[in-house]
């Protein structure tokens, strides 16, 4: 990938995501990496540990496809709509559940935190800290359910708070509005915890709506959330976050989130959906074609420019 890190989604996933890896596809409601998740399904990865605050539809799909053995999370659901059927079926069963291409899938292992706990885990991972302290979990059953949530005493004699351990994914995948070929990546709108998850990771894949010249990035360095320094591949994949959204580029496709509620309740319907929308397509361009121009167009927002600021030229 030399000085340009631009790669196809196929090559980026083939090269950088391996069986047994821990993988974080972050993006809190905004910029969810559906295209990357689908490519992981297509390439048949197995035994992944998936980390994400809100597993959302993409992890439901990946888990239904059998890529994962474990899920690290803080809130499990289809936000504003309902549940995630594949994850529930693989969680509520004692041993194994039908599903995937392999027929029977083992029970999904869960490791559960709160939102702030997950953010703290990525932060500790990114900052090479042995733990992250937070005022949460007091008097709840969460530390009993997850013995990795532990107490730590203040060295100033003023009591005890809880700690979470660092999370250092093998791979973090971030979707963003734009990056240059070196992987310098800019985001506006919700920032979630992508920065922390990317710095915490061993390998980073950035998927962008638009590849821009380095000069565009350098014109506004405060918008850069991930520097090329830590990026292994840049994939240019417009509409790659659908049915989630990209601030300024497209809206959440709520129709799909509502439809998923029906699909996910029925394992057969879910597997049919995976065949039709993942396995039988060779990538995101085909997916966008299949969605159709009308639907794509209907998700375009009006315009709301940020305005420009002056950094000044100092020579």
């Amino acid at each position: 990938m030399s000085s340009s890190k631009v790669a196809s989604m196929h090559d980026a996933i083939a090269t950088l995501v391996r069986d047994g890896d821990s993988v974080a596809i972050e993006g809190f409601t905004h910029l969810i990496g559906f295209a990357a998740g689908h490519e992981i399904i297509r390439q048949g990865r197995r035994d992944l540990t998936l980390a994400r605050l809100t597993p959302d539809l993409i992890y439901d799909q990946m888990i239904a496809a059998g890529v994962a053995r474990k899920l690290i999370f803080s809130w499990l659901g289809n936000p504003g709509v309902g549940g995630l059927g594949a994850i529930r079926r693989r969680t509520e069963t004692a041993t194994s559940a039908p599903g995937g291409r392999d027929g029977l899938l083992p029970r999904l292992e869960l490791e559960e935190y709160s939102h702030f706990g997950m953010v703290g885990r990525y932060t500790a991972g990114a900052a090479n800290l042995p733990f992250y302290p937070l005022r949460s979990y007091f008097e709840t059953d969460l530390p009993k359910a997850n013995p990795l949530i532990r107490e730590v005493a203040s060295p100033y004699g003023d009591g005890v708070v809880y700690a979470v351990p660092p999370l250092k994914p093998d791979v973090t995948i971030v979707h963003a509005q734009r990056a240059d070929a070196a992987g310098n990546t800019q985001v506006w709108g919700l920032l979630g915890c992508q920065k922390e998850a990317a710095f915490a990771a061993d390998r980073v894949i950035v998927v962008v709506e638009e590849l821009v010249d380095e000069a565009v990035v350098r014109a506004d360095p405060n918008r850069t959330i991930v520097p090329g320094l830590i990026v292994d591949a840049v994939v240019v994949e417009p509409f790659g976050a659908h049915p989630s959204y990209v601030q300024g580029a497209y809206d959440r496709d709520n129709r799909f989130y509502l439809e998923w509620d029906g699909i996910t309740k029925d394992e057969n319907a879910l597997q049919r959906w995976l065949r039709e929308w993942v396995y039988d397509l060779d990538g995101r361009a085909a997916y966008v074609d299949k969605l159709g121009v009308e639907r794509v167009t209907s998700l375009r927002p009006g315009t709301a420019p940020s305005g420009s600021v002056d950094y000044g030229r100092y020579e």
């Binding site: 809190f28 809130w75 979990y137 007091f138 059953d141």
Partner: protein, 260 residues
């Protein structure tokens, strides 16, 4: 019943919850019912209310009802958009939130909340969403409002899992522990259901203060898993006004996802 217009139980619940936000300043908005109640309050009794979304938004001015707590409409035109690290560290844990607004799958008489599992944690009958930010909101927001539908399955003697701390085993217990552990929050102060409005008595236990129009005490007893505490004089919740109903039906939940 004073209003002439027909309304659903869910509409009454949302309206009652929204009204309780009058006079509040900064509200942390949860997913689902809290989201619509808070957005109704902003359009009625609390136009100055600052909405904080855990997705990282302060001072949201959503032009439509946000479809989720991370909807792009809460970003465009907001005062400030920050990382989740900053939102949880500086706004919530830092003590800037007046009201945390939560939903619940199970609640007990002391306002302790379960949103994790029904049944055993390791072999659940039903796997629920989990904490999200709820367990830290319960500890760090100055007070907590709860909005939920009430039944003997949700208003239970014993919750199956304590996701978010309420008044623990009672007010005395809770106050001691909050002081010892340095919590900023004073715990739950309001529970609004589809049947009525509850506050908390001096012992830290839920007390029914108001019945929604058409709801009887028997209805409430039949939907509460313990013998409920009652205010000396139980009020009737004023019915939704025509304006409140119009806002819900035409602007906030035109599809009826929450109120249908």
């Amino acid at each position: 019943m004073s209003g002439a217009a027909a309304f659903s139980k869910s509409e009454m619940m949302i309206v009652a919850a929204a009204r309780e936000l009058a006079g509040q300043h900064v509200c942390f908005v949860g997913v689902g019912l809290p989201n619509i109640a808070v957005n109704l309050a902003k359009r009625t009794v609390a136009p100055e209310l600052e909405l904080v979304y855990e997705a990282g938004v302060f001072g949201a001015r959503p032009a439509r009802l946000p479809l989720s707590i991370g909807d792009p409409t809460i970003v465009t035109g907001a005062t400030s958009v920050v990382s989740m690290y900053e939102l949880f560290s500086f706004y919530l844990q830092g003590g800037l939130i007046d009201v945390g607004f939560l939903g619940a799958a199970q609640i007990d008489r002391f306002g302790n909340i379960n949103t994790t599992v029904i049944g055993d944690y390791d072999a659940p009958a039903t796997r629920l969403p989990g904490s999200g930010g709820a367990c830290e909101i319960a500890i760090n927001a100055r007070q907590v409002f709860v909005i939920m539908r009430q039944s003997t399955r949700s208003f239970v003697e014993r919750i199956d899992f304590r996701t978010s701390a309420g008044n623990l085993g009672g007010a005395e217990d809770a106050e001691r522990i909050r002081r010892e552990q340095g919590w900023l929050g004073r715990g739950p102060s309001l529970v609004v259901t589809d049947l009525g409005i509850w506050h908390f008595d001096e012992g830290g236990e839920m007390r029914l203060d108001s019945l929604h129009p058409g709801v009887t005490l028997e209805d409430v007893r039949g939907a509460t898993g313990w013998e409920p505490g009652l205010a000396e004089a139980i009020q009737e919740t004023p019915a939704p006004t025509a304006d409140e109903l119009r806002l819900i039906r035409e602007e906030l939940d035109a599809g009826g996802a929450y109120t249908g």
